[in-house]
Structure formats: C-alpha cells, structure tokens
C-alpha cells in the first residue's frame, strides 16, 4: 500500500479534560461477529454458532468476542489520535453482549491528561460502547500522544515507556 495520507495527529497541548472524541457507530451483523472472532483466532462456537449461543449459553444470538471488542476500541482511539497515538493500556468491562442487529455506538471523553517523568504525554479516556440506551461495555484507555510535532511516542523503549 502506498500514498496513504497520514492524518494530522492530535498533539498533547491541544487535549483537555472533558474533550469528546468523534463517535463511531457500527451496525453489527452476523458477519461482524464471525469475522471479528475468526480474525482473532477465537474458534469458540458462541461467536459463530447460533444454536450453541442460544441453547448452551442462553443468550439471544452469537455475540462479539473479547479480543474483537478490544480491536474496536483500538480503532476508535487511533481514529482520533492518528498513527502517532500509542496505546498504553486499556481496561474494559463487558456488561452485556453485543449481538447482530445491534447498532453499537462508541463514544469517549478525556478524563485526565498528564506527562510522566520521561516527558511522555498521556491522555486517559473513558469509552462507552452503547446499544440504544444500554451501556454494553465500558473501557478505560491510556494512550500516549505526541507532546509536539517532533515527538513520537513509538520511539520510546525500555524505561522511557511507562504504560
């Protein structure tokens, strides 16, 4: 692949507590669930076998698997940061499953900004994955963003990377 346009990165000085990230809405289909599960090499049947999910797990349909939800959160965050954004950690709780037919909406708010003792700029973000009025999953993300145009969080290694 070539000639990809690099989005303008979010720079640390421009990030403030209370900032909202652009929402991401996705209509979940059976393909969304199955493709996500197989992409993450998750062969468990509740993510591709309707009868197993409904009759064994007792849920209404096949549902998004854990690593795929993580990947959706990653996409949501780096859509905002651009490629220089580097995930430090994410912690998410799946309160209820996400099923085909759901329209999942990811939204996020910056809850903290700080620089660590190496000078790395961090944004903490609370992300909600909602389906209708229901919050299906919540995710706390800590992502490094460049402190200026010349900074690159990906260049940090060893003791200079403190996720």
């Amino acid at each position: 692949m070539s000639n990809v346009t690099i989005p303008t990165p979010v720079l640390f000085p421009s990030v403030s507590v209370g900032d909202s990230l652009p929402e991401l809405a996705v209509d979940v289909t059976p393909t969304t669930v199955v493709l996500g599960a197989l992409a993450s090499r998750d062969w468990r049947p509740m993510h591709h076998d309707y009868k197993f999910a409904t009759e064994r797990n007792g849920v209404q349909d096949i549902f998004l698997n854990t690593p795929n939800q993580a990947a959706w959160f990653e996409r949501f965050i780096t859509d905002w940061t651009g490629p220089k954004g580097r995930l430090g950690r994410m912690k998410f709780r799946m309160k209820t499953s996400v099923f085909p037919g759901d329209r999942m909406v990811l939204s996020g708010t910056v809850t903290a900004v700080d620089t660590d003792d190496t000078g790395c700029g961090w944004a903490s973000i609370d992300v909600a994955l909602t389906v209708g009025e229901t919050v299906a999953s919540t995710c706390e993300v800590r992502v490094a963003v460049p402190v200026d145009e010349n900074d690159n969080p990906w260049s940090r290694t060893g003791d200079r990377w403190k996720p």
Binding site: M1, S2, V4, T5, I6, P7, T32, L35, G36, L38, A39, S40, R41, D42, W43, E55, R56, N57, G58, T66, P67, N68, Q69, A70, A71, W72, F73, E74, R75, T78, D79, P83, K84, R86, L87, G88, R89, M90, K91, F92, R93, M94, K95, S97, N152, W154, S155, T157, W161, P163
Partner: protein, 179 residues
C-alpha cells in the same frame, strides 16, 4: 490485581493461584497478512498498520495492531495429532472442569502494551491464576468469577504485553447437556 483465596475453594485450585502455568511458545510466527484480518474486521484504516513507509518512519518497521496480542498464541482449530477442542486460555478451562461449570463468559479484560509486536516475531506466554471468587449468581446462572493474568514475550525475551481476564463460569439451569 491482588491474589485472593476463598475458604470454600478446593486445594487443587488454591495450589494453582499465583503459579505460572502452561508456558508455551507459538507454533507459528506473527503474520502480517493474518493481522490484516483484524483491521478488516474493524475497518481500521490506521496507516501505521497498512503502510510500510509510515511504519518505518514511526516505529522502524511494520508492526501489527497492538490489540491482536493474544491471537498470536491461540492454537489452530485443528492440527495433526490434536485431540479434542484446542483452547488458548487453558487455566480458564481447567477451572470450568474442576468446578463443574460448563458455560463461561469473559467479563473484564485489561491489556498493557509494551514493545510492539512485529511480523516474524514468535510470541511466548504463560498463565497465572490470580483469584477465584466464592459462589455467585448472575442473570446467566450460578457459578464463580476468576482472574487470570497472561504475560507475553517475544523471541528476544522482551515483554510485549500483559493481559488480565476476568471469567465467569456458570451452570445454566435447563441447559442441554454439554457436548
């Protein structure tokens, strides 16, 4: 996450808590093409993960999506000589069997990202049971929660990530016999 021992947990389980188990090395290297599947599944157009020039400039070479961390340790669905279902998080399935809880879901997941994972890397990991709850009942059924940590290293011994899973194993009243 703190370790926890509940009084009603059998010794076979308490003996597991805090001990590294199932150290394994992947049977295949990290593959760029397989990594694309996750990007396609989430329509993730991050140029860092698609474009060599961008990856060279920012990270000194191509990397895979950080959240694909666990997939590089997941077994094939089938391979020659394999018997039965091949599973990744073996401690989770041990606990289901020991407690007689045929169903399970994951409720929480924490991932800490260290060195980036690159095509060609060969990942190793090990699992550590951190805690097991007493009996709990949720809308899914009656069972127990447990927390399992997994550390991932590359072929050079560098830490590439740590995951922590909270699972809930349960019995669902009225469910068909497990197959």
């Amino acid at each position: 996450m703190s370790e926890n021992v509940n009084d009603d947990i059998p010794a076979s389980v308490t003996d597991m808590i805090g001990k590294p188990m199932y150290p394994e090395t992947a049977s295949f290297p990290v593959e760029r093409s397989y990594g694309y599947n996750t990007l396609a599944a989430t329509q993730n157009g991050n140029p860092l993960l698609w474009d060599d020039e961008v990856a060279d400039e920012l990270t000194g070479g191509m990397i895979v999506a950080p959240t694909t961390l666990s997939l590089w340790m997941r077994p094939h669905f089938w391979e020659p000589g394999a018997q039965g279902e091949q599973v990744a998080l073996k401690v989770h399935f041990d606990l289901k069997r020991i407690f007689g809880l045929p169903e399970a879901v994951m409720t929480d997941n924490t991932i800490i990202f260290y060195d980036p994972v690159r095509p060609g890397d060969v990942i190793s990991n090990q699992q550590v049971l951190k805690s097991v709850s007493g009996p709990k009942t949720t809308k899914l059924g009656a069972g127990r929660f447990w927390v399992i940590d997994v550390e991932f290293h590359n072929q050079d011994g560098a830490l590439v990530g740590v995951e922590s899973y909270t699972g809930f194993g349960y019995n669902r009243p009225g469910a068909r016999e497990a197959k």
